[in-house]
């Protein structure tokens, strides 16, 4: 493994726990601590913890912070008026392609935080600085590599966190989904990427190890990024680099719902392009009707033309292979299509997303 890979403050703890470490967006991260499937089930049925310190928090402060974010993001931060509320959005290039998808936390008009993907972090910050310079905005960007972040996910997440941090009990009880509590350098957010209830908690990197150890001691299952991927796929959540990239329109990644066009005077970057280019495909789910495993980039043949799988796996919850696929606009849920799996044509049924919600199979 390359010596150039970056490591989180929990690297030694992962090694001690015998994690299998892989290169994930330039970071040496645990893919699993043993059984990826057991880790997946732990989150669906109990509670698991993921080290997501490779993601970057970026603080956005200054008098023009709101104006900046209204130009930078395709979703409209004016929808945020209560301190602590969060908003999911794409950051687009002028051609309407997705530079990254991110979460924005609102603390006050002059104080915000963005959390961006690890693999995109450097280009994101460079892009944001260009936008600030181009519009001569009075905004300061502070990348917070000093912070580490854990995602504690699963139906028992709240109770287990309150057990090891009783002083957080009232905050945990009061937090609504997609909201956060922020004090000094501690952020407790009721967000996640698994389709379960859960919390993402950021704190200074030098404080994260005792917190991690307390979670493990309370039987919270350490989970790797492998389980995070199968969980988010079952939950129908898009992943940067799979469902979307700089050549993909948000509508082609199932993210139309994040585009906010109501305020016609808000000329966010990419808005013009969204009006010019019609999406050529849309994102739908596939359930494999025979044995096998669907994977990214496998061709899909439909009676309306060809499509492609963006993410595929064996679903640990459902027991068969599921995928997200970009398919011709005419294809509908319920249609039967053929997936080319290693030269073999296999039948699959088209469905809406997600596949699983709160631990249960979703039937559309």
């Amino acid at each position: 493994m390359s010596a150039a890979l970056k490591r989180t403050p929990l690297y030694e703890a992962h090694k001690q726990a015998q994690a299998r470490l892989v290169d994930f967006g330039g970071w040496e991260m645990p893919v699993s601590y043993g059984s990826q499937i057991q880790e997946h089930h732990a989150v669906r049925e109990g509670v698991g913890v993921f080290d997501v310190s490779h993601m970057l928090s970026v603080d956005v402060t200054g008098p023009d912070a709101r104006l900046f974010l209204r130009q930078l993001l395709a979703n409209d931060v004016d929808r945020l008026s209560v301190a602590g509320r969060a908003l999911y959005s794409c950051m687009l290039n002028p051609r309407g392609g997705v530079i990254d998808d991110l979460i924005t936390y609102f603390f006050s008009d002059t104080d915000w935080r963005l959390v961006v993907n690890a693999g995109c972090a450097e280009k994101d910050v460079a892009w944001m600085r260009r936008v600030i310079a181009r519009f001569s905005l009075d905004v300061a960007l502070t990348p917070r590599r000093d912070l580490a972040m854990l995602a504690v996910q699963g139906p028992q997440a709240k109770d287990r966190l309150a057990q090891i941090r009783p002083e957080w009990r009232s905050v945990l009880d009061d937090l609504k989904p997609f909201s956060a509590s922020h004090q000094d350098d501690l952020l407790i957010a009721r967000t996640g990427y698994t389709g379960e209830d859960g919390f993402e908690i950021a704190m200074p990197g030098d404080q994260i190890q005792p917190f991690w150890e307390a979670l493990i001691a309370a039987d919270v299952v350490p989970c790797g990024l492998g389980a995070r991927d199968t969980l988010r796929l079952e939950a129908g959540m898009a992943l940067y680099g799979q469902e979307m990239d700089e050549l993909t329109l948000p509508a082609e990644a199932g993210l139309s719902w994040t585009i906010h066009l109501k305020d016609e005077s808000r000329l966010f970057i990419g808005r013009d392009a969204l009006g010019q280019f019609a999406p050529e495909a849309r994102l739908l789910g596939l359930k494999l009707l025979e044995k096998g495993v669907m994977r990214s980039y496998m061709p899909v043949h439909t009676e309306h033309g060809a499509g492609e799988i963006t993410s595929g796996t064996m679903s640990p919850t459902l027991g068969f292979s599921i995928a997200m696929a970009r398919l011709p606009l005419e294809v509908k849920a319920g249609d039967e299509v053929r997936v080319e799996i290693r030269g073999k044509s296999v039948a699959a049924q088209v469905c809406l997303l997600p596949f699983v919600r709160h631990g249960k199979a979703v039937t559309h």
């Binding site: 299998r20 893919v31 699993s32 059984s35 990826q36 499937i37 997946h40 492998g226 991927d229 199968t230 044995k291 096998g292 495993v293 994977r295 796996t313 064996m314 640990p316 290693r342 073999k344």
Partner: protein, 126 residues
Amino acid sequence: MSIPNDRKYAQTHEWIRAEGDVMLVGISDPAQDQLGDLVFVGDVRVGAKLKAGDTAGVVESVKAASDIYAPVDGEVVAFNDELGDAPEKLNADPYGNWIFKLKPVNPDDIETLLDADGYQAVVDAS
């Protein structure tokens, strides 16, 4: 991880063991450990005539697919259907569960493969 010396090994992590006039082929303990939870074993074509190194089938974990190769020249004469229904058996007992049976063109070819010590060296180097 165990590497028993009652069979031979290919560089590509298959084990092979003679049983009468056919040979059983499976994957090694280090191979199953590296792959993680297996969720699919298959694509083995009974009747296929393969050269050593040809793809004989596939084993897939949650995250990735990995080819399995014929260790010697021969014809595939059986696939272990039990693994089609329960691929996790390969994780639990990789040496007790063969994947396919091969009728070798030349039974002596097995002697060209690695013994347990030789295969251990391959694992240590990887």
